[in-house]
């Protein structure tokens, strides 16, 4: 506003100065100086400085990425960004006024449908912050539904998710117990899958839920059906954390006895963004629909009988129920959900299957190529999706450091979260990698290990 306009407005309000507007703030609380912040930059200067900062990152555009561990470097079609860049979507807020929010509401309804279809569940919500918090919400639902206090979580569930569970449930009275995986010791089977015998031994009438991830953190497909049968016998719910891309070829958890499917949908058209924003999905079978957390879009009709969409089942939510709400969640990740919806529309039935198949073929090829160097050994003996564990001759930390100098972002060092897998390396290969790139990667890993990690 111009100076004249400001004066006119002040006069209309009936005050003499801008300061007078703040007279309710006690004098001793007024900041008597300017904030100690850098002087403002022009748009051009900002862009230059930020570009300089961006250059200090090794991004997957300029480097070959073989890192996964829950966040994946998948191909994103250009059309996704063009749709999510439409201001009507990205500058709007939560669709409180459905008559002017049909765009977001319908896209959420389509997202809910796609997630339900992928997971084989009856309904899904409008999304949650990320896979870790989606799992946390799933555990809360199970505990409330069963009125039981113990949760059995596979140790092969993403460690980042387990960390969130431990932190957020610390004072809740909910007890988390971990079920190990086969192959964590030198003896016995090396499948890398959930120890079903241990599950059988640990599950009892206090168990609210069994949490299983498939593909698990090591990329290995789990037997969800076997776990869910055990859970059902004990009256516990089964929570499955599934990768949405893998569901292009693998059986939906909903057809394997799962009650709640929750996890991370970032691989569907969302960039890695240094870990945020991500996209938690949450889908359930019928009995749990009214207990779902977060926003839900539903179909209805307008006063002329035409189809339309609204936020629904709001009696669960914080703005109505306050401390009795099923969750404190106010927002969803609508724009990330839109990206996933556009991605899945573009991919369709055939495309999603093709992406999943390429992940299997290319990761399998990479596994063999690494073993063929003679410098890398296998750890587990189960088939995997997109990601696998190996033990390279050179420690993963050192190996990654040298690879980075050669423009390769190496795998995840499992020693950090799994002392029992010290020296093991989790390598991810998406459809973006070509045979030549994989060959180059294997060749470099082999050479570095042969040279004993002396670059």
């Amino acid at each position: 506003m111009t100076r004249e306009q400001q004066d006119e407005m002040l006069a209309a309000v009936g005050v003499n100065s801008v300061e007078e507007l703040f007279s309710a703030i006690p004098e001793e609380l007024r900041l008597k100086r300017e904030l100690d912040l850098p002087a403002p930059l022009s748009e051009y200067e900002l862009k230059k400085q930020m570009a300089e900062l961006a250059r200090r990152n090794a991004d997957s555009g300029r480097n070959l990425c073989f890192l996964g561990a829950g966040i994946y470097d998948h191909f994103i079609p250009s059309a996704v960004k063009h749709i999510t860049s439409r201001q009507e979507f990205y500058t709007a807020y939560t669709p409180y006024q459905p008559e002017i929010s049909q765009g977001v509401l319908q896209s959420i309804f389509e997202f809910q449908t796609m997630i339900s279809e992928l997971t084989g569940m009856d309904a899904a919500n409008a999304s949650l912050y990320d896979g870790a918090t989606a799992l946390y919400e799933a555990v809360l639902l199970a505990v409330r539904y069963t009125d039981r206090k113990e949760v059995l979580v596979a140790r092969s569930v993403n460690p980042e998710y387990r960390r969130v569970l431990y932190s957020c449930l610390k004072y809740s009275g909910i007890i988390i117990k971990e079920i190990g995986f086969l192959g964590s010791t030198d003896q016995g089977k090396k499948s890398g899958t959930l120890d079903l015998a241990q599950l059988k031994a640990m599950i009892n009438e206090n168990t609210a839920a069994v949490v299983i991830q498939s593909p698990n953190f090591f990329g290995i497909m789990e037997d969800i059906k076997a776990a869910s049968e055990k859970a059902k016998e004990a009256g516990a719910l089964t929570i499955a954390v599934c990768d949405p891309i893998s569901l292009g070829v693998f059986e939906a958890p909903g057809n394997l006895g799962t009650d709640i499917a929750a996890g991370e949908a970032q691989p569907l058209g969302n960039p890695m963004n240094f870990g945020g924003p991500l996209l938690g999905y949450f889908a359930v079978k019928n009995p749990y629909i009214r207990r779902m957390p977060g926003r839900i879009a539903g179909e209805t009709t307008d006063s002329e009988g035409r189809r339309g969409f609204v936020l629904t089942l709001q009696a669960r939510e914080q703005h109505i129920r306050r401390e009795k709400a099923t969750s404190n969640i106010c927002t969803n990740q609508a724009l990330c959900a839109l990206a996933a919806t556009v991605y899945l529309s573009l991919m369709g039935k055939a495309g999603l299957k093709e992406v999943a198949r390429q992940c299997i073929n290319k990761s399998s090829y990479a596994y063999k190529a690494l073993l063929e160097t003679g410098q890398v050994s296998g750890v587990f003996d189960s088939p995997f999706f997109r990601e696998f564990v190996v033990r390279p001759g050179t420690a993963p930390g050192k190996l990654n450091e040298i690879l980075l100098k050669e423009n390769i972002i190496g795998g995840y060092d499992l020693s950090v979260e799994y002392p029992e897998l010290s020296g093991c390396w989790l390598v991810a290969v998406t459809e973006k990698r070509t045979k030549d790139e994989i060959d180059l990667f294997a060749e470099k890993v082999g050479r570095i290990c042969r040279e004993g990690g002396n670059a």
């Binding site: 709007a92 939560t94 896209s107 927002t331």
Partner: protein, 487 residues
Amino acid sequence: MMRDERLIFEKSVPGRIGYSLPADDVPEVDLAKTFGEGMLRNSAPALPEVSEVDVIRHYTNLSKRNFGVDSGFYPLGSCTMKYNPKINEDIASMEGFSQVHPLQDPKSVQGSLEVIYRMDRLLSEILGMERVTLQPAAGAQGEMTGLMIIKAYHMSRNDEKRIKIIVPDSSHGTNPASAALAGFEVVHIPSDDKGCVDLAALESVLDDTVAGLMLTNPNTLGLFEENILKISEMVHKCGGLLYYDGANLNAIMGIARPGDMGFDIAHVNLHKTFSTPHGGGGPGSGPIGVVKELAPFLPVPVVEKQDDCYVLDYERPLSIGKVKSFYGNFAVVLRAFSYIMTMGPEGLRKVSEAAVLNANYIRKRLEDVYDIPYNRICMHEFVLSAEKQAKNGVTALDIAKNLLDEGFHPPTVYFPLIVHEAMMIEPTETESPETLDAFISAMRLIAEKAGTDPGSLKNAPKTTYVSRLDEVKAARTPILRWRPSSK
């Protein structure tokens, strides 16, 4: 506009594709042999089979049925729907930021870590706090994080009996919901006749079982809690901590700071105060700042600077752990960081000054036609009541729906709960006087019709893609997804 009510699934044509994928140039794995038939899908998910142009047209048409800040005035109280500068979008989509994996070696992500570290310093200064974590994904998660810190703090002092969190009756619904989720008992206290915390009521609930008080300041009526120093003294004296709900920070940047008011923890909604777009309901970002004594409890990792290198510090024994994966909604943080860098200290102060002036201007120009229950100089927003109009059968909801036909996004309605027929108006600083005048005219016109021809207001909106929707039906017989059989 040509109506096309079909869902993307209803546009599907078997065999049509809209993708182009890299070549599968490695040997094919036999899925059945490798994984076993039982592991594979029996039937494909019912995803649409459409072309790229089908997808683009479908979602472009959907976007036209949506209203964003760029479409027009969006005075949604408590949500701070200010304009989102375009440069911030460009910066967030720089490949050097967007195509970076969170588990890379910290040495290979120094640019991003520097942004996190500097953002911590910037927000700490704005809030008057010691350290800020950017991990919480939204305001509600910031609240949850803050409450976990309050819990951890009391437990670390072996003060286990502190089980209560006090919230005013005018607070956001997330406050009590977050407190309950963090394992606290919620105690509501009433507001006094000035719309502020009732000190006597507060006094009566303060004892050694109180863990803390959650407060928005300015509060949800848009009024500054003038007794804040007294309140913080009272709560601290009984051993409790003070939590600042930062939803309304847009009113006081560079003018007053939560830390100086005695708050121990404060969250910020980057998607409100710091201009990051709301995304149709997210992603947001809800960093929290804490005073020095609480810094050891912050979630891990904390970004620290060692010599000239930024590192991720996980070795923090008192930390509450993690509330979310990784380091928060980094792409949102980038936009907010860019915003602060372009505003500077004076710019931010002027933001708050203009936001407050704009709100008062609208308040003053509407006070003769609408009831304003706490009618005095407000901060960045104010709450009016449609009670006068309701006597003629025109509710706050009707007024909201009529505003749609006038081309405006309506204010927040029916909140805070302590005002009947509430309409909470927050114009923000980015609106011109011309826009404010147009909105005022529309509101006055509606008020006039409410007196002369109330019936004419009951059928709005008439110009939108759909008319009023049956929410009762939606909740009673929920249809939450399309099913292939329903084709």
